[in-house]
């Protein structure tokens, strides 16, 4: 048996070769605080040559994470999120609409450490970032969550998504 309660019941053991599986529709919480499980990406624009991506961290039930979370965000040319974009947008790549904070720019206009907006600000832990590019370059928005760690990749942004 690879999953069992130790005698006395205070310790649950997932032994070597055992699995603790968080399937879609399940939630892992620490101290009653759901951990980010995945993310959703939405696209919009407010001006010419601009695209705004809003990233929402979601728990396993698909509900928005309301805690403040730091994570990596980057633009990639590949659908699996490997690497950063080869091209460079002509304009700024920055936080949009005041939603979130860039903690560190890893690669100018391409990769960042970001923090979502706090729950007290009423936007359910979103990060919004904007790309301004007269070339309207295509890219995949990507993030890596601390739990799980694997890249979560949004739908490709294409020319028609820009204003």
């Amino acid at each position: 048996m690879k999953n069992y309660a130790k005698q006395g019941g205070d310790e649950w053991v997932v032994g070597p070769g055992g699995l603790l599986t968080m399937a879609p529709g399940s939630q892992l919480a620490l101290a009653d605080s759901p951990l980010p499980y995945t993310a959703s990406f939405s696209k919009s624009n407010l001006s010419a040559n601009q695209v705004i991506i809003q990233v929402a961290l979601l728990d396993g039930f698909g509900n928005p994470i309301r805690d403040v979370v730091d994570f990596d965000l980057w633009l990639s040319d590949t659908a699996d999120g490997a690497g950063v974009i080869a091209g460079t947008p002509s304009g700024t790549v920055s936080i949009a609409l005041g939603i979130g904070t860039i903690l560190k720019t890893y690669v100018s206009k391409k990769a960042f450490r970001v923090q979502n907006i706090g729950p007290d600000q009423g936007l359910d832990g979103l990060v919004g970032f904007q790309v301004n590019d007269t070339g309207k370059g295509a890219f995949y928005p990507c993030i890596a969550l601390q739990i799980g760690g694997k890249a979560v990749v949004g739908n490709q942004v294409v020319s028609g998504d820009y204003g």
Partner: protein
């Protein structure tokens, strides 16, 4: 006096609770959204060119099986076998991602500490050029569990 149960399936069975004082011991794997969360990293050094050592870092599950996927992690050089602290030595040449070895997002400390992305196969290859062929310990802090994995110290023969 009735003992408090600290690990239990709650009524309806949709929730497993670990109360204060309880413990979840994970010697196996945690699977989130169909992905095994990396539990460890292996380090494979190889000589490549004069004074160059390339260290292949591969993410593994609890059984030592490779975990595929693009992951963000911290990679750094230490002098300590357990990975405590950064190396006091600065390599004479470049320390960076090897060709087609993954993506360096940021050098947190030049030639010593980096934020990186693995390739889609869950590996990252660090290239170290150092004429002194220093016995660096290559370290990786994995996502989720946070513990540092450290390589054996490099030896002269690991450099070209």
């Amino acid at each position: 006096m009735v003992a408090t149960v600290k690990n239990q399936r709650e009524q309806g069975a949709d929730k497993w609770s670990i109360a204060a004082g309880g413990k979840l011991r994970l010697d196996g794997d945690l699977v989130i959204n169909g992905v095994n969360v990396p539990r460890s990293a292996s380090f494979t050094p190889a000589a490549n060119g004069s004074n160059v050592c390339e260290v292949l870092i591969a993410l593994k599950d609890s059984l030592g099986v490779a975990v595929a996927g693009v992951f963000a992690l911290d990679v750094y050089l230490s002098d300590d076998p357990a990975g405590a602290g950064l190396t006091a030595t600065t390599a004479s040449g470049a320390v960076t991602a090897a060709t087609s070895g993954g993506t360096e997002l940021n050098a947190m400390v030049a030639k010593k500490a980096f934020r990186v992305l693995t390739k889609a196969d869950g590996t990252y290859k660090l290239s170290i050029t150092d004429s002194a062929k220093t016995a660096f310990v290559v370290c990786a802090q994995l996502p989720s569990f946070g513990k540092v994995n450290a390589s054996a110290a490099l030896v002269t023969g690991n450099y070209g």
